[in-house]
């Protein structure tokens, strides 16, 4: 179980999170949704152990946590397979094992064999994100933290990768925390949607989805987004213009 208990956080004099209570249940996909600057990524960084909250407790009971970031964060000086095997190398796996496991994952991610030995700058944006996802899955995580991993991709690629991630999560029975500012993405992927409002970041709404992933067609996604936007707190959280006008 991953728990954020009474978490508040300040960056210098700005409070970015206020009194957040949240948990990620095993085998479920939790989505943190909200406009930019509402502290979603900060919560994820806390779960990854990269940041300690100013107040409150973050406890991560999962054995192996892996992250996929908005930018691919691949080492520019390592080839695709070596990048996939980075986490394995950090855990002390032997070179041959690393390469074998990385090759299996690269194949599963749909990377062609001729791309395995390429450096990140030789790969397209979609392929880099596949490599980054493969690197996270290589360590066989039980908790996957995804920080807007598809936001820089075009619509077609986004769909492909969303399908791939949903399939992998179901196949491996992973727990995932997914940060996004796109409600339709959340409606497509998650079991629980938690909506955040900014200044300071706080939870304004929680929504549970019981529909199986393979039954979530476009009509379901649009309807869920419409239902969510009909809730005044959610609607207010996404209204940038009004916020900007507030002194």
């Amino acid at each position: 179980m991953l728990d954020w208990q009474d978490v508040s956080h300040d960056f210098a004099l700005t409070t970015v999170l206020e009194d957040v209570n949240l948990n990620a249940r095993p085998g479920k996909v939790l989505c943190l949704v909200g406009p930019s600057g509402c502290g979603k990524s900060t919560l994820l960084n806390m779960a990854a152990g990269l940041l300690d909250p100013t107040e409150g407790i973050v406890s991560n009971g999962f054995e192996r946590t892996a992250c996929v970031f908005q930018e691919h964060r691949l080492l520019p000086w390592r080839r695709a397979l070596d990048n996939i095997g980075f986490g394995l190398k950090a855990s002390g796996a032997k070179a041959r094992n690393r390469r074998d496991q990385a090759a299996v994952l690269a194949q599963r991610m749909g990377l062609h064999e001729q791309d395995w030995t390429k450096f990140p700058h030789e790969l397209s944006g979609g392929m880099r994100q596949r490599v980054s996802l493969a690197r996270a899955l290589a360590v066989d995580p039980d908790l996957l933290l995804l920080d807007e991993p598809f936001s820089a991709l075009d619509v077609g690629l986004k769909r492909d990768l969303q399908g791939l991630v949903t399939g992998l999560i179901a196949e491996r029975g992973l727990t995932a925390v997914f940060v996004t500012h796109d409600l339709s993405e959340a409606a497509r992927l998650c079991h629980e949607i938690v909506v955040f409002a900014p200044s300071p970041g706080r939870i304004v709404h929680r929504h549970h989805l019981s529909q199986p992933h393979d039954e979530r067609d476009d009509a379901f996604v649009f309807q869920t987004v419409a239902e969510l936007m009909a809730i005044p707190e959610v609607d207010a959280a996404f209204r940038v213009d009004e916020r900007l006008q507030t002194p």
């Binding site: 992250c67 970031f69 964060r73 080492l75 980075f86 450096f119 030789e122």
Partner: protein, 269 residues
Amino acid sequence: MTFIKDTLAYVWSGWGPAASLLLFAALWEMGHQAYGSFILPSPIEAGQALISMFEDGSGQDAAVLTAQRAIGSFLAAGFLGSILGISAGLSRTAARAMRPVVTVLLGVPPISWIVLALLWFGLGGASAMFTVLVTVLPITFAGAMQGTLTIDRGLEDMARTYRTPFWMMLADVHLPHVLSYLFPAWITALGMAWKITVMAELLSTDDGIGGAMALTRTNLDMAGTLGLILLLLAMLLFVEYAVLEPVKRWMEPWRTPSKSLGGNAPKGF
């Protein structure tokens, strides 16, 4: 097999630069025909003067001595500058404090260091080596410091999420980035090291290529002077293209332009 193929491709890629150098030699020959041997001896005369220096043994002695001084001081400055630069880059405060010092040191003309070195160490090789060391060190220092300061925190965070051990963090995440700043600094430093060694030798010693040049100047031996310049350039090109460049390619394969990117991207010199 790939190594042999890459090496052959690298050597083969030398034809282009060789053609440029031959064009330069042709222009030199034209200058010689216009002004005569006293003002500008021909490339062949300069080559013959150089060969005769090697025949009497003075050429080898001068080349070996200058190479020892230039490479010795370059290695010392490269090592010290890189270590100190990395240490300074680890702390933003130290980097901020060191930046004006580096600017001042880079701004001091090498010739004034030679005067100081002559006063401190007297005539001899030590003055030449000191001058090279003190002129070249800020270049490698600045490269290492800048490289360390610009380490990608995003990559570092990524590595931390995998609980990457200290040595792996250093070897896989930090060093490759710092090296991409260090190599250009080392190559600039090496080029300067040769030039300053000869200049310092000319003023402070009677041996090495600089000492030999002082002698050819006294004898108004233009062909000998040009021969020595050729020798110096040949040594510099050898160290840069036969040693440093292959080391760089071996350590930074990701910097080599790849065929998959531009089709005919240049791969050689």
